[in-house]
């Protein structure tokens, strides 16, 4: 029998809240974190998209100036979320050789990389500062969290585009089940609201162009959806071997019952229209957690609000859950906070864990005319989840054909 793994700490910094309590309160209320960008570079580069969902609490309101100087913005968000999750878990006595980190990012230190390139062009190589490399490397956030916590059982960085944050939980579960660690700080962080990624995602027609109405731009499942809204931030979860958590009398939010990762091998960016890779991921996560379709009451969907992405996920959910999918409360939380790319899976995992723990599903906003080809039971007003043993799933899919699913069971 595999070791059971439970979740004992949560942290987040997002466009709808700079900590977990604020984010959760807003997620149940239904707010938009998307706003018009006031930066001069929007006009300077004539960007086709003029808005994004920035973190509601700037990192410099939380970190000291000197701390922040040595971290890319993505790492700043990751460290903020990890510190909150660690404090929330309340672990005071730990063998640091048995504490690991699995902290993902989709892109890594893109601000640092591009700022250094600008410096090189404008001022020459001497002005490219020595912290540039450790700040731009994609493992920078995992390394910083490891340093911060004194985590010595390995610091890992799964990178699978927008599935990265969920894949971090998949890895974390494995590390504990296989006995390589007793506690793992899992998460994902991203900070890519920079003109170049905005231009690049725009160029692939992935971003909404609803420039005159940013708060209504992220509208998963709506007939008028026209792309995702770029978000930023981080989510963090403390995974702990059940016996370790019980021994210290920890507050347990839920069990990370099962996880899975699959690859489409279909197209570099387009999702498999039949959702076959996503279906296999859903079935594999349920098999891993010994979960029957009838156990599942809630899904935090990947649902980014792109015209082509939302439907294959529905197809996959129906294939994996059968007719029971009609009884499942589905939340598309990117409607509120935009798409946090490599952080999205981690933040949505925090929301999924809280949904199971608090028996409340977060809201989907901006759904006015539901796409008739996606007849899901979408949570648009306050929804209580049933009592008793329940399971919730969270899906994440990434460019490259990455599919990752986690299953959270109530305890």
């Amino acid at each position: 029998m595999a070791r059971k793994v439970v979740i004992t700490g949560l942290g987040a910094t997002t466009p709808i809240g700079g900590d977990v309590p604020t984010m959760w309160k807003n997620a149940l209320k239904g707010v938009s974190g998307a706003h018009t960008l006031e930066d001069e570079w929007v006009a300077k580069y004539d960007l086709p998209v003029h808005f994004a969902a920035r973190c509601s609490t700037p990192a410099l309101d939380v970190l000291t100036r000197v701390e922040a100087k040595r971290m890319d913005p993505s790492t700043q968000f990751g460290v903020i979320a990890a510190r909150e999750a660690w404090a929330d878990a309340g672990i005071t006595d730990i063998d640091h050789d048995r504490l690991a980190v699995a902290f993902a990012t989709g892109i890594g230190g893109v601000w640092t990389l591009l700022d250094a390139w600008d410096t090189l062009k404008e001022k020459g190589p001497r002005r490219v500062l020595p912290m540039t490399v450790p700040m731009l490397m994609p493992n920078g956030v995992a390394a910083a969290v490891s340093l911060d916590l004194g985590a010595r059982a390995g610091a890992h960085t799964p990178v699978s585009a927008c599935a990265s944050g969920t894949e971090a939980l998949h890895l974390g579960l494995d590390l504990i089940r296989s006995g390589k660690a007793d506690v793992v700080m899992c998460g994902g962080a991203e900070a890519a609201i920079h003109p170049m990624p905005l231009a690049a995602f725009s160029s692939m027609q992935a971003l909404s162009r609803r420039n005159d109405d940013p708060e209504h731009a992220s509208r998963p499942y709506d007939l008028d959806r026209d792309g995702f809204v770029m978000g930023e931030g981080a989510g963090a979860l403390v995974l702990e071997a059940e016996e370790h958590a019980l021994a210290r009398g920890a507050r347990i939010y839920g069990e990370l019952a099962g996880t899975s990762v699959t690859a489409d091998a279909y197209h570099i960016t387009a999702p498999d229209p039949e959702g076959l890779g996503a279906t296999r991921a859903l079935k594999a996560a349920m098999f891993d957690g010994r979960i029957q379709a009838a156990d599942v009451v809630h899904v935090n969907a990947h649902a980014t609000s792109t015209p082509v992405g939302d439907k294959p996920e529905y197809t996959a959910l129906r294939a994996a859950l059968g007719s029971h999918v009609d009884n499942v409360a589905v939340s598309a939380t990117k409607s509120q906070m935009g798409h946090l790319l490599g952080a999205s899976g981690a933040v949505e995992a925090v929301l999924t864990v809280l949904a199971v723990y608090e028996r409340q599903a977060p809201l989907t906003i901006n759904l006015e005319n539901q796409d008739p080809e996606i007849p899901l039971d979408v949570v648009t007003s306050a929804r209580t989840l049933p009592a008793g043993d329940i399971v919730a799933l969270s899906n994440s899919f990434g460019f490259g054909g990455h599919n990752a699913v986690i299953a959270v069971r109530s305890v």
Binding site: R65, V66, R126, L129, P130, M131, P134
Partner: protein, 81 residues
């Protein structure tokens, strides 16, 4: 041309910006590594910022000779001369 006092004050500002150390802790006889706990990455950042501030060039092979704040002040004063 900056005086030694002005160079010290400018260096202290750079060190404070990089490390958060109070500027008045940056004194001539203080060792960058032993007393101010400045690692090699911070040291190189300070050197590059000092080059820009004082309009001098501090060669990489010279940096290891700058053990104390006073060494750095003297080098910069000499390089400006």
């Amino acid at each position: 041309m900056a005086s030694n006092e002005e160079i010290l004050a400018g260096l202290a500002e750079i060190v404070n910006e990089e490390t958060g150390l109070a500027a008045d802790a940056v004194e001539l006889d203080k060792s960058f590594t032993e007393d101010l706990d400045i690692d090699s990455i911070s040291m190189m950042t300070i050197v590059v910022n000092a080059e820009e501030k004082f309009g001098v060039r501090i060669p990489d092979e010279e940096v290891k000779n700058l053990k104390t704040v006073g060494d750095a002040v003297n080098f910069i004063a000499g390089a400006q001369a």
